[in-house]
Amino acid sequence: MSTSPVLEIADLRIDRESRRVLEDVSLEVLPGSIHFLVGPNGAGKSTLLQAVVGLVDFEGRITLRMRGSGRLGWVPQSFAVDRTLPITAGEFLALSRQRRPVCLGVGRRVRARIDSLLASVGLDGFSRRPVAELSGGELQRLLLANAIDPAPELLLLDEPSGGLDEAATSRLEEVLARLSRQSGTAVLVVSHDRGQVRRLADRVTIVDRAVRRSGSPDEVLGGDAALAPEIR
């Protein structure tokens, strides 16, 4: 595994509504590693991910070192879509996988690729299902499918297990593990699930408006209840 990080954040400071949300945050995410961000609600974890995507104003430095496709995968915490919009799951995935406007139809080869992609996240046969009819968990899996194909160099997930049952969570963890091991994807996840952190994480950073502790799961989580009361 290459030692230069895919994502390097240095001295990140973010203000919102005249309130300091993040102060001097620095961290690195290595290729092929799964890095978890944990912390209490309102700690700034989601804001940190949004800064990497370029959605919020910040001071400091965020650097990406891309060796391959340069693709960034992003799974937001919630999908701010008009749920009454008549778009199917297949059309949604086709938006970034074909040149032809999806209002004129999805190409046959793209459709085959989409069907395979949906199956990989447990949404077999969902291609023609309107997004409006998906449950919260199904929607989350759809967003994951959108983010992981083609395999990104950096994958950001904001509480991806919210709304997922045990089987779906297990499948999500399989996908993340496969991406990081086989494709070398660097994964940065915001999560409250202690069990998931222990099962998947190569590295954990506790964020509470600043970096409180960073290291291996055992170093960060093991034994210190005072630092990790917010993790289930």
Binding site: S2, V52, G54, D57, T63, R65, M66, S69, G70
Partner: protein
């Protein structure tokens, strides 16, 4: 695999580091950049408007007078001077007749009948031996609409129409200072009549012809609205 160039606004194009990876820096969204582009676009729009308006106003001067005169005409309007001579004669007669009818209406409060206008020798209602059109005139009323309809004797000849819209009994359209045009004439109390002259082919057997333009009739004007405004502007808006 070669890195794909990304055209994302928030990523600054980076350089290849010594160990190969493409280094890019994530930049926050820039309000200043966006504002600059929007102001540039707005400036371009203003310049385009200035050019278009200047072309419309001053570019037309170089064209033939007939074209310039036609500026501002709606598709259902024609100019008097573009009519053939026989129709110009009828139009002139209608102008005179309409003016007289309005004058009698202003004086008596009632619209004069065709018979009374003919008795007074007012063209085109009075028979004229030199008139080849042989129009038969009728006065038709419906609500606030009054129409003197000229029906040709020969099929295929044009029919004519003086259409007058009375003002509302309460209120009505008052003259606005400065607006004097060939479609508006005043009553003694200051309210306006809307008077238009038309030429067409299909005349309903009875009743008024509402919306003549929608029945293919052409409104005949002496000047185009544009010429009229230029003339008013030149005379100080009187």
């Amino acid at each position: 695999m070669a890195a794909r160039t990304r055209s994302v606004r928030w990523l600054q194009r980076g350089s290849r580091g010594e160990d190969g990876p493409r280094v890019v820096e994530v930049l926050p969204p820039s309000r200043r950049d966006e504002t600059t582009w929007v102001l540039l676009a707005a400036g371009f729009v203003v310049l385009a408007v200035i050019y278009v308006v200047a072309f419309e106003r001053f570019g037309a001067i170089d064209r033939a007078g007939a074209q310039a005169g036609a500026k501002g005409l709606l598709p259902f309007q024609v100019l008097f001077r573009d009519l053939p001579s026989p129709r110009q004669r009828v139009f002139r007669a209608m102008q005179e007749g309409a003016a007289e009818a309005v004058s009698k209406r202003a004086a008596s409060g009632a619209w004069p009948t065709v018979a009374s206008l003919a008795e007074d020798g007012i063209p085109p209602f009075a028979p004229d031996p030199l008139d080849e059109t042989a129009l038969r005139w009728e006065l038709r009323n419906d609500g606030l609409l009054r129409q003197y309809v000229g029906i040709p004797a020969r099929e295929g000849d044009p029919a004519w129409l003086v259409s007058i819209a009375e003002p509302e009994p309460q209120g009505g359209e008052k003259p606005v200072p400065g607006v004097v045009d060939e479609e508006h004439q005043s009553l003694p109390d200051g309210r306006l009549l809307h008077v238009t002259l038309w030429s067409g082919t299909s005349v309903p057997a009875t009743g008024v012809l509402a919306e003549p333009a929608l029945r293919g009739w052409k409104q005949v004007r002496v000047t185009s609205p544009f010429e009229e405004i230029e003339r008013r502007a030149g005379s100080g808006g009187r």
